[in-house]
């Protein structure tokens, strides 16, 4: 039984036997109607989640047999007039999917009475009557016929700046990879059902809708403020978004108030962060020995004498003269910290409800600072978020909603940028120079006019950059019940305005750079003989930049929803327009706002929650499309059948409590390319000609076509989805499986198969690309089951698999079939097939000629397959060797254990089928600049002595030509970056109800500990496999441990 908070006068009638609880609220606003013998009864009906229920049949009778009936409107309100005053009535509420509830002994008073009714969903165990978010509306989960899934928002509540990093594996059908760990910039790349498009100008990421507004960002939000998180996966769910839905849609709603007493929430978390994996670079000894080896093998004299090596490694040597430095250690602290603080207040009366919150997040990086500098170059991110959602009932049938949310964020970093530190640490070897010479002089050598990398100086001596961002998203919404015109009809209008401003101020410098005179390191007086190799500046320069974005949208919607006996009919029509001006435009073309229009409609029908059918359609117009193709129509249909409600299913009902199958087939679209691509424009800057002689000449500049107008339109995705949903073991175990296929045509691309004889200045654009993407996603969920007294266990696992294939890329035929990227997956990359290492000169002589790649190969070099058998290995012998860094398989599994007041949740994620090509120093350690460092695993290489057959590196060589044979893309360098990650751990203790709580009004309180990225297992060892880098040059992902306290009162 639920207790609702008393807002007005004391409860007059409570029926404790009923699962429904009611209150009577006095409505002061109602004028007294004392003279009459009749009064009215007014009420609001909600479900347990506080969602207003429309179409509820209300039957009223009293003991004298007076009856009346009505239905609730779209705002959940019903009203009955002409009731006898001071008489007791019995009310009955019924609606499909909810338990019929009765309320007895409701007294009608002279001034009118009002009640609050809460209805309980019928099959709470199955959760099928829960109302879920769909495109432009809400639906009961049982009636869904499209593929969509929701994220339990409590699973997102971890102390991270960007919630996108929490999603992979939590929800089926979503692929996500976190590419960097830099505070504030550590959001994840997200795709729904993988990648179905390719080429520049074609976004593969989903459309994100926050509180009904398109194009808002996921990462601006705080998990505590999110009420629901839904992903729409197939055309049936996304068709209403027309040409914007083909990559899937994420719909987020923020929390809103519920009628009731004010509830305050406070949450505080304090944590420490460290790297999941710091790339291990060679130390001085490894570096010098390997460099000598590489130089000797390349016919060069070794760089370091044994004497020099001994001096460098000696603890007593002067390390200004014999530098020996661990750059990573020099620039990094062991730990950094983060902090989260949330407060929120929610509550309201029957007429006004609100939710407002304020959140603070800060995270510092592990980069060191120089305490002696008088500026702050510490790398840290801080953000304040706020949400204020207010809902007001303006009239009996009108609801006004005002939503404001946004943030102010500040990011501070060194003048050269925090990211440069890692690249620099890889580009500076450990024996080149110390961080600073005595007197705090910056050490380095000149590379032309810029200094060579000195990681320490770059992060501590280069000044600072400070970026400040402020964003406000505002939404105004009006909902009007039009039951007066037609029962079940409602209208809704929405206007939103988002503004985002970023300004960056920086004060930077490049200091004077000194280097020790290598021939005579000491001056006569014994001090170091330093030479200034580069003139810099000790004072800071000033620079700034600004950026801003705006986003307007306007939306109107008419909805209809009604029950006719066992038939449910629903429909909605939506008009939406969106305008994104460019405040920074410098040309008129750029200044024209990017605009789209979308009309959408949905018709749903269901019979007794057994047979379900739905038709959706989106009609989108965009400026990107050419005038004759300006509007595109995207229809879809879907059907569902709840077998478990059939009589014939009865024999199986002991096995399955619920069984539903559904199928959808339809289209959604994607906008690619650039705006105004359909216009043919000319340039006056083309090459011209000069005629005549020096004394009498005429020069004409050329005019020519600068862009060939193409008949550009949308890409179209034909989606099909078959889904099965079932529940078994007394509703405890549920399984949802979806098979899908997405066939996308008309992907925008520059057509490469235009022959040279067409004589075009540029290859034209067009919608020629075709891809297909098939896969499975599944969710298995175990509702809490008691394992022992007070001990509960629940479990949830997801699986997402997709296999995409490029079918047409508009290219001309390739010389050899294996060179063709068509038929391969979209992110596939090409290179040679490495067959092994040449172990003898005879092997080289007997093998195809590889000299076209990098000169004559040497023993210890990689041997490549001669695919076309022509005796020469060259570009025609390349083929697909890697599927790319986005996984085919994503798994997630988590469990929760509750014991008494303790709880523990753990979540693991895994990916499989992702590969990365090594590059730069992870491929050929000494190929680049002479001063590069190398990974510590460079010891694992081929040598004359070991003749290893499968080391990480082949023969080491020094310089680009000595590495040319090995330093090309080949299967040797394709590394499996699959991993299993212990992603999150959350454990805590709920303080039991006690007297202190009652006195202070505290409802609940808990202490808890969370951990993120605890550890991972991966066959790839050099760096955290999730990072988007082929050479480890990226801010590593971080691990976080936090302790927190949360309370509601």
């Amino acid at each position: 039984m639920k207790i609702l908070h008393l807002v007005g006068r004391p409860c007059i009638a409570i029926t404790p036997l009923s699962l429904l609880t009611c209150l009577l609220l006095g409505l002061a606003t109602l004028p007294a109607q004392a003279q009459k013998k009749t009064g009215k009864l007014k009420g609001i009906i909600t479900n347990e989640a506080g969602v207003y229920l429309s179409n509820v049949s209300v039957d009223i009778r009293n003991t004298s047999g007076h009856t009346a009936s009505t239905m609730s409107d779209s705002l959940g309100i019903f009203e009955v007039n002409g009731l006898a005053i001071d008489s007791m009535y019995t009310l009955s509420f019924s609606m499909v999917g909810y338990k019929t509830t009765e309320m007895r002994d409701v007294l009608i008073k002279a001034g009118g009475s009002s009640i609050l009714v809460q209805m309980i969903a019928k099959d709470t165990a199955t959760g099928m009557n829960a109302v879920v978010v769909v495109g432009y509306g809400k639906q009961r989960k049982i009636t869904l016929t499209g593929a969509q899934s929701t994220v339990n928002t409590s699973e997102l509540k971890y102390p991270v700046a960007n919630i996108s990093t929490m999603l992979a594996g939590r929800v089926s059908g979503l692929v996500g990879v976190q590419r960097s760990g830099l505070p504030g910039s550590n959001s994840a790349d997200i795709w729904i059902r993988g990648i179905s498009t390719f080429g520049s100008g074609n976004d593969s990421h989903p459309l994100i809708i926050v509180d009904g507004v398109k194009g808002r960002s996921l990462d601006d939000l705080v998990a505590e403020d999110i009420a629901s998180f839904t992903i729409l996966k197939d055309a049936s769910a996304t068709a209403v978004y027309g040409a914007e839905g083909a990559n899937g849609v994420i719909i987020i709603t923020l929390k809103r108030g519920k009628p009731g007493k004010i509830t305050l929430m406070g949450n505080y978390l304090e944590g420490i962060t460290s790297f999941t994996k710091l790339p291990k670079l060679a130390n001085a000894s490894e570096y010098m020995n390997l460099r000598n080896e590489a130089m000797t093998a390349s016919g060069l004299a070794p760089a370091y004498t044994q004497d020099y090596i001994d001096s460098t490694l000696s603890k007593t040597a002067n390390h200004y003269v014999y530098p020996n430095i661990d750059w990573m250690k020099t620039i990094l602290n062991k730990v950094a910290h983060n902090r989260t603080f949330n407060v929120s207040a929610t509550g309201g009366t029957e007429n006004t409800q609100y939710y407002s919150s304020l959140s603070y997040y800060e995270e510092s990086s592990l980069l060191r600072t120089d305490g002696l500098q008088n500026y702050d170059a510490a790398t840290k991110y801080r953000r304040f978020n706020f949400v204020s959602n207010v809902d007001m009932k303006l009239t009996r049938t009108t609801m006004f909603r005002l939503g404001l949310n946004g943030f102010v964020a500040e990011f501070n970093q060194p003048g050269n940028g925090a990211l440069s530190a890692f690249g620099d640490a890889m580009r500076a070897n450990p024996v080149l120079y110390p961080a600073l010479y005595p007197g705090r002089l910056v050490a380095g050598i000149a590379e032309g006019t810029t200094p060579s990398p000195n990681p320490y100086a770059d992060i501590t001596q280069s000044g600072y950059q400070n970026t400040f961002e402020a964003k406000i998203s505002s939404t105004v919404q009006l909902e009007q019940d039009l039951g007066g015109i037609l029962k079940g009809l409602s209208a809704n209008a929405l206007y939103s305005f988002d503004v985002d401003d970023t300004s960056m101020q920086k004060r930077t410098r490049i200091r004077n750079v000194y280097f020790l005179n290598q021939a005579t390191p000491y001056l006569p007086d014994g001090s170091l003989n330093l030479t200034q190799v580069l003139v810099g500046s000790e004072s800071l320069t000033y620079g700034h930049s600004e950026a801003s974005q705006r986003n307007f949208s306007l939306q109107g919607q008419l909805g209809y929803s009604r029950q006719f006996g066992l038939h449910s009919v629903g429909g909605t029509i939506v008009y939406n327009q969106r305008s994104i001006p460019n405040p920074e435009a410098t040309t008129y073309t750029d200044a024209i706002p990017v605009r789209t229009q979308n009309y959408a409609s949905r018709v749903t029908y269901s019979y007794d929650d057994k047979y379900l059918a739905e038709f959706d359609g989106g009609y989108t117009g965009s400026q990107v499309f050419s005038p004759e193709n300006r509007y595109g129509f995207f229809p879809s249909f879907s059907v569902g059948w709840v077998l478990s409600r059939e009589k014939f299913f009865t024999p199986l009902s002991s096995l399955f409590d619920f069984f539903k199958v559904r199928y959808s087939n339809g289209y959604s679209g994607a906008i690619g390319g650039t705006r105004f691509d359909y216009l043919t424009t000319i340039t006056t800057g083309a090459a011209g000609i000069s005629f005549g002689t020096p004394s009498a000449n005429a020069t004409y500049s050329g005019i020519n076509i600068s862009h060939y107008g193409a008949n550009v339109r949308w890409a179209k995705s034909h989606d099909q989805d078959v889904g099965v949903e079932l529940k078994t073991l007394n509703n405890k175990l549920s399984l949802t499986v979806d098979w899908f296929s997405k066939y996308r045509t008309g992907v925008f691309l520059t057509r490469a198969n235009f022959p040279g004889f067409a004589g075009l200045q540029y290859n034209p654009d067009g919608n020629y690309g075709i891809t297909i993407n098939k896969g499975i996603d599944a969710t298995l969920e175990l509702a809490p089951i008691p394992l022992a007294r007070k001990l509960n266990f629940s479990f949830r696992a997801t699986l997402s698999y997709n296999r995409d294939k490029l079918l047409e890329n508009g290219a001309a035929p390739y010389e050899e079939p294996y060179l063709d990227p068509r038929g391969q997956n979209i992110l596939a990359s090409q290179g040679y097939i490495a067959e092994g290492i040449f172990q003898s000169q005879a092997q080289i002589d007997n093998h195809a000629d590889q000299s076209g790649i990098g000169g004559k190969p040497r023993v210890g070099d990689l041997k490549y397959k001669d695919l076309n058998g022509d005796g020469v290995v060259n570009a025609y012998d390349q083929t697909t060797i890697s599927t790319g860094d986005v996984p085919r398989w994503t798994f997630g599994a988590g469990f929760n254990v509750n014991y008494s007041n303790f709880y523990l949740s753990a979540f693991f994620q895994a990916i499989e089928g992702a590969q990365r090509m090594m590059s730069d120093i992870a491929r050929s350690p000494f190929a680049g600049g002479a001063d590069n460092n190398l990974f510590a695993n460079a010891e694992d290489r081929w040598t004359e002595e070991n003749h290893a057959t499968h080391p990480f590196y082949p023969r080491l060589g020094y310089g680009s030509s000595a590495n040319a044979n090995n330093n090309v893309a080949s299967t040797w360098w394709v590394k499996d970056i699959s991993f299993v990650r212990f992603k999150t751990l959350d454990m805590g203790y709920n303080i039991p109800q006690n007297k202190l709580f009652k006195k202070t009004g505290v409802q609940d309180a808990r202490f808890y500990v969370t951990a993120i990225n605890l550890f991972y297992w991966s066959p790839f060892k050099l760096w955290d496999p999730e990072l988007n880098t082929g050479d480890g040059n990226s801010y590593p992902n971080t691990r976080n441990f936090s302790i927190g306290f949360q309370t509601h009162f």
Binding site: T589, N711, A758
Partner: protein, 409 residues
């Protein structure tokens, strides 16, 4: 209640505005860039569009004659009298030993670069009659059309010389052409020749018809040397006919297998002596019409007959648009580095400006010459020495210098 009414009205307005969408919402079109139809709206644009046709005339001096930008590509490098052994971007040995990577695309460079002016010229010819009459006179329309037509034929001729039979496109391929439209086949060699020579005839007629007493058709328009004249049309006609008569494409049996995919043979297989006659007639027609009135042998007066001949040979290249020049590209850029690379390396010279010697004769050429005693080097009596150095005074040098024995006498 008033506020409620007000808000209801606001709600109604918002709903109305949302549903009453304006069709014009998406109709903003940028007007700050030139639309395609502005090309033929004024004389300046017409002239500049025609300049684009001329722009791709090969310029052997551009950009150090590297592939991109220099319209001659690398062809200088691989001809047998050049010696680009040390050019940073390309060594002739790569070509000779077939170690160029398949991704080395320089030799494909000219193909589209010659077809671009072909497309522009076709577009120009199709549209020039419709040019704004207030700006472009009928006289200019006809003259420009003839120039564009002649240049298109000349570009085809250059391609024919370089690639053999080519694709002849009487019209432009639309930018949204289907794949089938793009699958064009090469025309047989003789058809290409026919097409080119007839186009040159038409161009001749157009330019000739536009001639006046002050603007002779044999002289470039406004004396802007480098523009097509009637003489250039006839000269290139003779060139293409001579190429057709040459044994390379006149019944060459080694080209038997050169066929289109549908089996159409691209190179004729029967030698036709008449082609020489046709070419000779074309040459005679040119001479009859233009020599000596328009073109004449370039001579330099000098009392010494040798010097006169020497200077005429030298200055005919360096004197702009002298009477012996028929067609050329004015103002070729960076001729300096070309001169530098073509000049002898002058090995052993100090304190003098030396060239790079990329065009110097190689030893096999030197050895092909007779010694100054008239004997070939294979004759033991010739006095040829294969090794060592000696001091030797070149007949045209000012003093004796130390040089290789192979180069002496």
């Amino acid at each position: 209640m008033n506020i409620k009414h007000l808000l209801s009205a606001f709600a109604g307005l918002l709903l109305l505005s949302a549903f009453g969408s304006c069709k014009k919402y998406l109709n903003d079109i940028p007007n700050d860039s030139l639309p395609a139809d502005s090309i033929f709206s004024n004389l300046t644009n017409v002239k500049e569009y025609l300049a684009q046709v001329y722009a791709n005339i090969p310029d052997p001096y551009t950009n150090n004659r590297t592939g991109n930008g220099g319209h001659d590509g690398y062809y200088n490098y691989i001809c047998d009298d050049a010696n680009y052994f040390s050019h940073p971007e390309f060594t002739s040995t790569n070509f000779m030993f077939n170690t160029l990577s398949p991704s080395f695309t320089t030799f494909e460079y000219l193909w589209p670069e010659f077809y671009k002016p072909v497309r522009t010229a076709t577009d120009f010819i199709n549209k020039i009659d419709g040019a704004n009459p207030a700006q472009v006179s009928d006289y200019l329309k006809l003259h420009y059309k003839g120039e564009a037509r002649a240049m298109r034929a000349i570009f085809y001729f250059w391609m024919l010389r370089l690639y053999g039979p080519v694709v002849i496109l009487p019209n432009i391929l639309p930018v949204d052409a289907s794949d089938e439209q793009l699958f064009q086949q090469r025309a047989p060699f003789d058809s290409c020749v026919n097409y080119i020579s007839h186009q040159l005839d038409s161009a001749y007629d157009e330019i000739n018809a536009s001639g006046t007493s002050t603007q002779l058709p044999s002289q470039p328009l406004n004396l802007e040397y480098g523009r097509v004249t009637t003489g250039i049309c006839k000269a290139y006609k003779e060139q293409v006919l001579m190429l057709a008569a040459s044994p390379l494409f006149n019944g060459n049996p080694s080209l038997t297998s050169l066929k289109n995919t549908d089996g159409t043979p691209l190179a004729n297989q029967t030698y036709d002596q008449q082609k020489w006659k046709t070419a000779a007639d074309a040459a005679k027609a040119f001479i009859d019409e233009f020599v000596p009135t328009t073109y004449n042998l370039y001579t330099v007066a000098d009392t010494n007959a040798f010097n006169a001949a020497y200077k005429a040979c030298r200055d005919v290249v360096t004197t702009d648009w002298n009477s012996e020049w028929i067609f050329g590209k004015s103002y070729c850029s960076t001729v300096g580095s070309y001169v530098n690379q073509a000049s002898p390396k002058l090995v052993g010279y100090v304190n003098v400006t030396v060239g790079l010697g990329f065009y110097s004769v190689n030893q096999s050429m030197v050895d092909a010459y007779f010694m100054n005693n008239g004997l070939p080097i294979t004759d033991p009596a010739s006095g040829y020495q294969q090794s060592g150095f000696t001091t030797f005074k070149n007949p045209y040098d000012v003093k004796a210098r130390s040089t290789f024995n192979q180069w002496v006498n």
